[in-house]
Each structure stands twice: as structure tokens, then as C-alpha cells.
């Protein structure tokens, strides 16, 4: 069978990460501009080289209308041949990179920047507020607020509880994911929780947010921006940094009630992605999975086939996913411990690892990375298979 024409056709050549976390010096638009500037510097490209712009707007973009056009105007980009504001939640980052590579392969654009930014955290209030520091993610909708049903944590908790009931997933299993990723974070100077090692006992002692989720089952919330630049493989070879080639891609959106399926769209997305990449799971060196919750990692490990369905908890509890383990998962600490830029967090860590820039956390063998994105409540899913090798 002939190789898929998209395999290896494009590469990530620039990565820009702004300061992350409790940073308040600009807004969502400003963070996006800063991220693009950093990515251009990283690639050794100029603004004029960009002819495509894809934006994943975080919550703070809600009222800004056509976000990609706002960003184009804010940074004086001219003569774009591709522009879109995309939102599949946490699955957007991988999906943007997919669309960028498809446009490049079709000859519609040559150099596409993909951006996420958000500012869900507000500057600290002058006086202690009784309501928690909960960010924009603690929202209430319509009638549910009368019952005290608030936010994404509670929505995921209802699904996680079903998984625990059906498969025997335990609090220890969830905690094992938090502990494993925190071990990676302590090796990552850019991780927000790098100075806070975590034991399973610490995990159990941490306060409940929405049971069955402790504080450390839930991702961080971060202000900031993150951009990557995608260009054709030929051009990629002549730029400043080692190219990260796109070998495979796929999407999967199951629909229905996640409390029934207890499954992510990885079950749909993985097959086309691995077929295009012409590899199997055994060829993957670095695994960067979307981790809005510890629970999400367990489900995603199952759905890519690292273990059987329902056995993600025991698999995580073997502690094979941390530093030195059999499967290197979320090697920067992920969104649980590093920073929360939706799907851009796993994408960025894959780029760092494949370039060999991982420092103390560098995975020794780093030819191929699997990256997942997940949006909504296991609602949307996207997959990338990336490699430092052209083919």
C-alpha cells in the first residue's frame, strides 16, 4: 500500500510558550501575540513568513468575536491564505495542527501558526473572598445552579464515578496518576508544581474538590499563551530548530452520554492515525495524553490500547508511566502539574522531547511521540503521531 501523502509532509518548526500560571500583565489577546512572537523567534522566521493563522480561543476570548481575525489585526499580519477560529475544547490543538498540515499539503498555505491563549484567572482580590479562587471553570448554568451543580469538575466526577463502579477503578488508581505525573514535574523547571513533590499519602490527604476528585486529580488553571508553527517538510529542514514531523493524525467524536460509554474518542481516532504513521503502539517512545483529570489519563490509556478496557486504573497503579518506567506518559508533568494550555500542553511537551530538549526529564529514546487531545466531557478527541525522523 502506498504511503499516505500526508505522512511526513509537514513539520512543527517553532514553539512559543509564554510565562504560565498566575500571570496578569496582559490579556488573552496579548498572550496570543507573545506566544506567536516566541514561536517565530524559535523557528527563525519573520512575521511576513506566516500565511496561515489558526486560533483556539480560551474562555476569556468569549466576547472577542472572530478571534483569528482579531489576532491578525493585533499583530499586523497581512495577506493570510488561511484563517480560522476553532473550538473542539481540549481536542483543538491537535486538530489545528492537522488542518494546518492538510492546507500545506494541498498547497493552500506554506507556514501556519496555531495558537491557544487564555486568562481564566483574575488578579488576586484585595481582600479574602469567601467564594473560592475558582476560576471561570466553576460556572453554573441555568437551572442546575439551584442544586449547587457547578463547573466541569462536577461533570467529570459523575462520569468518573461510573467508571469506578463498572470497572473497580479506585481512589488509589487515580492517585497513582497524580503521583506519577508529579514525579515528572519535579524534573521540569517550567512546571508550576516543580517544587511540590507528591506521595500517595499526600494525595489522599489533599482536600476534596468534588468527590471522587481530590485537589490533585484536577488540572491546574493557567493564564498564558502557546503557539506552534507548522510548515512543509522541505522548508522545515532549513530552519533554526530540528523539525518535528507529522507522521499520523486522526479524530474521533463519539457523541452520546460519556457516563454510558466511559470511553474517549481515541477508539475512533487511533486507527487512522497509526495507519497513516505506519507504526504500532510498540513504536511509540513518548506519550503525551490530555489530562484535565487523572481519570482522563486512565480512560485514554485504555482507549489507545496500552491496557484492556477498564484496566487503566491498575495499569497506572503499577507506576510504569513515571520517570524510568516502561511507558513515558506526560513527561513534563502535564496539565495536572506543569501548566494548563488545553491541548497545547501535551503538544508542546512532545515537541520538547522529540527535539531532545527535555533536560533532566529527557526520555532516552525519543524518535516517536503519541499526542492526544480531549474536549468537553470525553466529547471530542484528536490524535497526532509525531517524529523527529522525516520518515
Amino acid at each position: 500500500m502506498p504511503a499516505d501523502p500526508l505522512r511526513g509532509a509537514a513539520a512543527i518548526v517553532g514553539l512559543g510558550i509564554t510565562p504560565q500560571g498566575k500571570v496578569f500583565h496582559t490579556g488573552a489577546l496579548g498572550f496570543a501575540v507573545d506566544a506567536v512572537k516566541l514561536a517565530l523567534d524559535d523557528a527563525g522566521l519573520a512575521r511576513e513568513d506566516i500565511d496561515g493563522l489558526l486560533l483556539n480561543p480560551g474562555l476569556a476570548w468569549a466576547d472577542l468575536g472572530m478571534g483569528s481575525f482579531q489576532l491578525q489585526q493585533a499583530m499586523g499580519l497581512r495577506n493570510l491564505r488561511l484563517s480560522a477560529t476553532m473550538n473542539l475544547g481540549g481536542a483543538t490543538a491537535c486538530a489545528m495542527i492537522q488542518h494546518a498540515s492538510q492546507a500545506i499539503a494541498a498547497g493552500l498555505a506554506t507556514t501556519v501558526v496555531c495558537v491557544f491563549s487564555d486568562m481564566p484567572l483574575k488578579p488576586p482580590a484585595p481582600k479574602g473572598d469567601r467564594a473560592s479562587a475558582a476560576s471561570a471553570y466553576g460556572f453554573a448554568r441555568g437551572w442546575e445552579q439551584a442544586y449547587g451543580f457547578f463547573g466541569v469538575n462536577a461533570m467529570y466526577a459523575l462520569v468518573a464515578r461510573r467508571h469506578m463502579h463498572r470497572y473497580g477503578t479506585s481512589q488509589d488508581h487515580l492517585g497513582a496518576v497524580a503521583v506519577g505525573q508529579r514525579r515528572w514535574a519535579t524534573l521540569n523547571p517550567a512546571a508550576q508544581l516543580r517544587d511540590q513533590p507528591l506521595t500517595l499519602d499526600d494525595y489522599h490527604r489533599s482536600r476534596w474538590i468534588v468527590e471522587p476528585f481530590h485537589l490533585f486529580d484536577c488540572c491546574l488553571v493557567s493564564n498564558g499563551g502557546l503557539a506552534v508553527i507548522v510548515t512543509g517538510a522541505e522548508r522545515a529542514r532549513n530552519l533554526r530548530r530540528p523539525p518535528v514531523y507529522l507522521w499520523g493524525m486522526g479524530q474521533g467524536h463519539l457523541g452520546g452520554d460519556p457516563a454510558d460509554t466511559l470511553t474517549s474518542g481515541a477508539v475512533l481516532a487511533r486507527e487512522p492515525a497509526f495507519r497513516m504513521a505506519e507504526i504500532t503502539l510498540r513504536d511509540v517512545d513518548v506519550v503525551e495524553l490530555y489530562d484535565c483529570y487523572t481519570f482522563t489519563v486512565i480512560v485514554t490509556l485504555e482507549d489507545y490500547g496500552f491496557c484492556a478496557k477498564g484496566e487503566g486504573g491498575p495499569f497506572a497503579a503499577e507506576q510504569v508511566t513515571g520517570p524510568g518506567g516502561r511507558v513515558a506518559v506526560n513527561t513534563g508533568g502535564g496539565q495536572l502539574a506543569s501548566f494548563y494550555m488545553w491541548g497545547m500542553t501535551p503538544v508542546s511537551e512532545a515537541v520538547i522531547q522529540l527535539r531532545g530538549d527535555g533536560g533532566a526529564r529527557q526520555v532516552p529514546r525519543h524518535d516517536v511521540a503519541l499526542v492526544s487531545g480531549n474536549g468537553g466531557i470525553l466529547s471530542t478527541h484528536s490524535t497526532l503521531i509525531l517524529s523527529r525522523l522525516p520518515s
Binding site: A131, S132, E144, G151, R207
Partner: protein
Amino acid sequence: MSAVPKPLPQITPEMAPFWEAARRHELMVQRCRGCGTRRFPARELCSRCLSRDAGWERVSGHGQVFSFAIMHQVYHPAFADAVPYAIVVVELEEGARVLSNLVDCPTADVAIGLPVEVVFEDVAPDVTLPKFRPRRAAA
């Protein structure tokens, strides 16, 4: 008592029959006239058969806990004295799943499969919240 009152449900035209029934201490869910599927909350059309034709039907208020979450974090100051409290998704005997609170039950005793029955909490002169409690022995 919290100084801040708990928020009342935003009553949309679509959901108005549900809240009117609750005021009468009746539990009603929407039922598709195309395929007979019961659903909650109200929707404009049936995702199964795409019919827009639907009515409201009184249900027993009996069901089982399908899933639950215990809220500990205070997201709204009115719930500061209420935490921890149980959010439940109740699978009614008639089929629809309803999101509500479980009352009269220690949070440690909430479990999937627990048989429950509806109770009505009058929270304002014109607003009643259907909630659930563990089902008592059949009369």
C-alpha cells in the same frame, strides 16, 4: 444560614412545565411523541428520531442513583454552609435521567444503585425543587 440566598433555577420557556408541575409537587419529564423516549432536561427535538413533537408526562418519582458526586468546593457563597452535599443523577423507573440532590442521606452512604424517591422542597413562594431521598419501605 448563609447570608446569601441560594440561586433559584433560571426557568426557560422550554422547562416551564417541569417547574409548574414541581409547584404542584408532581414530577414530570418530557416525552417524544415520535418514538416515545422520555427525556430530561427539556429539549426542542428528540436526538433519537429528530421529532419536534413532544409532551410532558407525570412519572412515579421512583428510581435509582445512576451516578453521584459529592460537592466539597464552595463555588457559590450560598452553598458555604451546605457542603458537602450530594449531586445525583437519578435513573427513573420510566427511563429518563434527572439531575438533582440527594437529601436525608449521609454523603458516605450515597451509592450507585441506591433506590430513591422524589421529595419536593419549596424554596420560594413560586419555586419548588424536586429532590430525592433514599426510598422508604413500600407502604
